[in-house]
């Protein structure tokens, strides 16, 4: 018991939680934009995988991790446009589009990795994003090393929470986004370009998810492996719903995942005699329990999943 307490009360535990939260958080923050305009984006997984892959390859060949980020942004942009083209312009079903994208990403990244790197016995390592301590602030005990001594992606992820909140609830853009998600025709009758808003938001979602993927490679391990995102896109998506499409809620939802995951690994490390599968399920069970016992019923943007059709145009 003391060991458990010690494990979870340490600073290291918080840092690990935050680290494991970052990729999820980036993807979730982006997804909020897409979901709020009424477009489901279960294709987050594909965007993350592309981001992980693209940033790795470019960082590896250029020797500069920031070039890798640029690649992630471009790939996220492309995937965002693709998702938007299918779901907004062609009005395809949003879920099946995403299923297609997820398979596509797995196929393309694996094939390209073989083509570019080949089958190698020693994985190439790309340069990683440096920690950037914020002057003075990082010296604050505990908080300093937790929050103010991170790489740029972690800062970005954390910053996106208040930024998204302010954009959604305190700007005219956010008002448009929310209106489009709730009642696109009403927004349309007020001269808001529903298609444009959806396109932009999906693109934001693509870019942030892709950066989330990059935080696994250049922002984390500096290696790439087929399918290394391992379902994080789905978790980020789930976190957005759990967080009721609210950036603060989604932040806590992703944090809950990160914390329980960090927790279960620590419990395994302590050597608690419980079958490890129980630990592996823990993040999902805890989230489910939190959902059932703490959270109220879901709020869903009303136009979710429904393509907007404005007569002929």
């Amino acid at each position: 018991m003391a060991a458990i307490l010690a494990a979870v009360s340490s600073l290291d535990f918080l840092i690990a939680s935050l680290r494991m939260t970052t990729p999820l958080l980036l993807a979730a923050m982006g997804d909020i934009y897409a979901e709020r305009t009424g477009v489901l984006n279960i294709g987050l997984e594909s965007m993350m995988l592309f981001g992980a892959f693209g940033s790795f390859i470019l960082a590896y060949y250029s020797g500069n991790p920031y070039t890798g980020l640029l690649a992630a942004i471009v790939l996220g942009l492309i995937m965002g446009i693709l998702h938007a083209f299918f779901t907004v312009t062609l009005r395809c079903d949003q879920v099946i589009t995403a299923v297609g994208e997820n398979i596509l990403a797995l196929g393309i990244t694996s094939t390209l990795y073989r083509t570019i790197i080949g089958v190698v016995t020693q994985q190439p390592e790309s340069p990683g994003l440096p920690q950037i301590p914020i002057p003075f602030l990082h010296k604050i005990p505990i908080l300093g090393s937790l929050l103010f001594d991170n790489n740029i992606l972690t800062y970005a992820a954390l910053l996106m929470v208040p930024v998204t909140y302010i954009i959604l609830f305190h700007t005219t853009w956010g008002l448009k986004i929310r209106a489009v998600g709730e009642h696109p025709r009403a927004a349309d009758t007020l001269g808001i370009n529903v298609y444009l808003v959806r396109y932009l938001c999906i693109i934001i979602s693509g870019i942030l998810a892709s950066l989330g993927g990059a935080s696994l490679t250049v922002g984390g391990l500096r290696y790439f492996l087929d399918n290394m995102t391992a379902g994080r896109g789905f978790i980020a998506f789930a976190a957005v719903i759990f967080g009721r499409y609210n950036p603060i809620g989604a932040f806590f939802a992703t944090l809950l995942f990160g914390v329980t995951d960090a927790f279960q690994l620590r419990m395994q490390a302590i050597g608690i005699p419980v079958p490890h599968h129980i630990f592996l399920m823990l993040p999902y069970v805890v989230t489910l329990a939190a959902l059932v016992f703490l959270a109220g019923p879901a709020f869903v943007p009303r136009s979710q999943g429904i393509p907007y059709i404005r007569d002929e145009r």
């Binding site: 305190h170 700007t171 005219t172 853009w173 008002l175 448009k176 929310r178 209106a179 709730e182 009642h183 025709r185 009403a186 927004a187 349309d188 009758t189 007020l190 001269g191 808001i192 370009n193 709020f299 009303r302 404005r310 007569d311 002929e312 145009r313």
Partner: protein, 504 residues
């Protein structure tokens, strides 16, 4: 005087439909111009062309004498055209204020400037006497109030031409008066109003000129001063129709519905019904009058099993049916014409055939056991469509593709065909043209003759007075007065609707 807006040869086609065919129309500054026509005549389509929602297939649009192209709604708004749509264009989970601000530039772009807008809107509300709680979310508001928000939205955008598509359908007489006062204020300042309505009285009362449409074409434009209701009706329908209705005196039988001290909550969780009691006999129509949002909707929902009663009793044909689910009530031969036909009354993506099955699908002869009897249903649907004159290509058409009027007729056909003992009808003529309204009212009276008990809820006072044997006036979830036959006069009811109680 130079026209503010001029349409020349506007054409708009939909597959198989000439919704607008060579339409010419001239709107002068400072006029209220009424647009009349049967359901499906093409009024809404024409206005959508003006508002940039549709692009006309042919024709020209002139604004103050200059030809313009309205490519988008934004163009229309920028020019100074505002539109209040037939179906509300409000975002349900945003507040009134947010709905009004939506799409406008803020003075602190990109940040919202709620304070400033709130002040301005409050001024506007005072100027036009349109009171709305700005911080309420739309879903919490009754339809009548939502309509007010729509009007405020357009007013706030400083439209020089305001198009109102059937704005009075959900307003009470006093609200209509208020609206007309507002419209006159606007036109006094040189703005113009296009008013689409099915109510000839309103046309005569407020419009300067009126344009009548039929089958996508303009029949005639004429000043209201030189015409009368009968003429307009003939122009619209192409035949003479009776505007008065004859009805036999009531021959009432046993009590069918008995409501005792009924209480219920509204969507916001606040008391909506606060002790309602009444009874309806066989062969009797009880009309419920009241300003929208005083609990009428909730009453209908409680009586039809869609909303739980928190206290009180409902007895149907002597049996306690409090909080029975809809199906159990249908089995006791209740029929319900709901207020919201698109959300409740129909499944828009189902065929007409399938829509006629709502509420009866599980019964013989439409089903045997769990097996659906398609042949019987097909015949049934075909018969309903014919008997009730539902205009549709066929029974396999989706309900979505019917005009609102025809959707309403479909519901009516389905519900009345069950020969109910108790009919609960909520705003059954809302949005219908004169012909259709007449038809609906006659049908309802016919069922009264047959011996049905009818609860008739409407915000249209004249309609209530025309049809009801007894009128109950609703105010804040209570019946403030029961008026029978000869007691009825417009003024007392109007007063009671505004809250002044009078012993019944």
């Amino acid at each position: 005087m130079a026209a503010l807006l001029e349409l020349k040869g506007i054409c708009k086609y939909f597959p198989g439909v000439r919704a607008n065919d060579q339409v010419n129309l001239e709107i002068l500054p400072g006029e209220i111009h009424a647009l009349l026509g049967e359901n499906g005549a093409g009024k809404t389509t024409l206005m959508n062309c003006v508002y940039g929602l549709y692009t006309p297939d042919a024709g020209q649009i002139f604004w103050q004498g200059r030809e313009i192209k309205i490519r988008s709604i934004r163009d229309a708004i920028n020019i100074g055209i505002g539109m209040v749509h037939q179906h509300f264009m409000l975002v349900h989970n945003l507040t009134v204020l947010e709905n009004i601000m939506l799409g406008l530039l803020s003075s602190r772009e990109p940040f919202l400037d709620k304070k400033r807008v709130a002040t301005e809107v409050t001024e506007l509300m005072q100027a036009y006497g349109l009171q709305v709680e700005l911080d309420a979310q739309i879903w919490q508001l009754p339809v009548g109030v939502q309509q007010r928000v729509e009007i405020l939205k357009a007013l706030y955008r400083k439209a020089r031409l305001l198009i109102l598509d059937e704005p009075t359908a959900v307003l009470t007489p006093s609200e209509v008066k208020e609206l007309f006062r507002v419209l006159r204020q606007l036109t006094d300042r040189g703005q113009a109003v296009i008013l689409i309505t099915h109510k000839l009285d309103e046309v005569m009362a407020v419009a300067h000129r009126v344009t009548v449409m039929r089958d996508g074409k303009v029949v005639q434009t004429l000043p209201t001063s030189g015409t009368d209701k009968q003429t307009l009706a003939r122009l619209m329908v192409g035949r003479d129709i009776t505007l008065e209705m004859t009805r036999t005196p009531a021959r009432t039988g046993e009590v069918i519905l008995e409501v005792e001290d009924l209480h219920a909550l509204n969507n916001r969780g606040l008391p909506a019904l606060r002790g309602v009691s009444f009874r309806i006999h066989r062969g009797e129509i009880l009309g419920i009058a009241g300003v929208a949002g005083n609990g009428q909707t909730e009453l209908a929902e409680v009586l039809t099993g869609l909303r739980p009663a928190t206290a009180g009793r409902v007895r149907l044909k002597g049996r306690d049916v409090t909080n029975y689910p809809p199906r159990a009530l249908y089995n006791l031969n209740l029929a319900h014409i709901p207020e919201d036909r698109q959300r409740l009354g129909l499944i828009l993506d189902f065929s007409l055939e399938e829509n006629t099955m709502l509420g009866v699908y599980y019964r013989r002869p439409y089903a045997r056991g769990i097996k659906v009897q398609h042949d019987i249903i097909k015949n049934h649907a075909a018969r309903l469509i014919k008997e009730y004159d539902v205009r549709a290509p066929g029974i396999s058409t989706r309900a979505r593709f019917l005009s609102g009027g025809n959707q309403q007729k479909l519901i009516l056909a389905r519900e009345l065909d069950r020969q109910p003992d108790l009919l609960i009808a909520v705003q059954p003529t809302r949005g219908l043209d004169i012909g259709a309204t007449e038809f609906v009212q006659q049908q309802i009276l016919a069922h009264r003759e047959r011996g049905a008990a009818i609860l008739y809820i409407s915000t249209e006072l004249e309609e209530i007075m025309k049809l009801s044997d007894i009128i109950a006036v609703f105010y804040e979830g209570q019946i403030v007065g029961l008026l029978e036959g000869d007691q009825v006069d417009l003024e007392t009811i109007g007063l009671m609707m505004a809250g002044s109680r009078r012993p019944a």
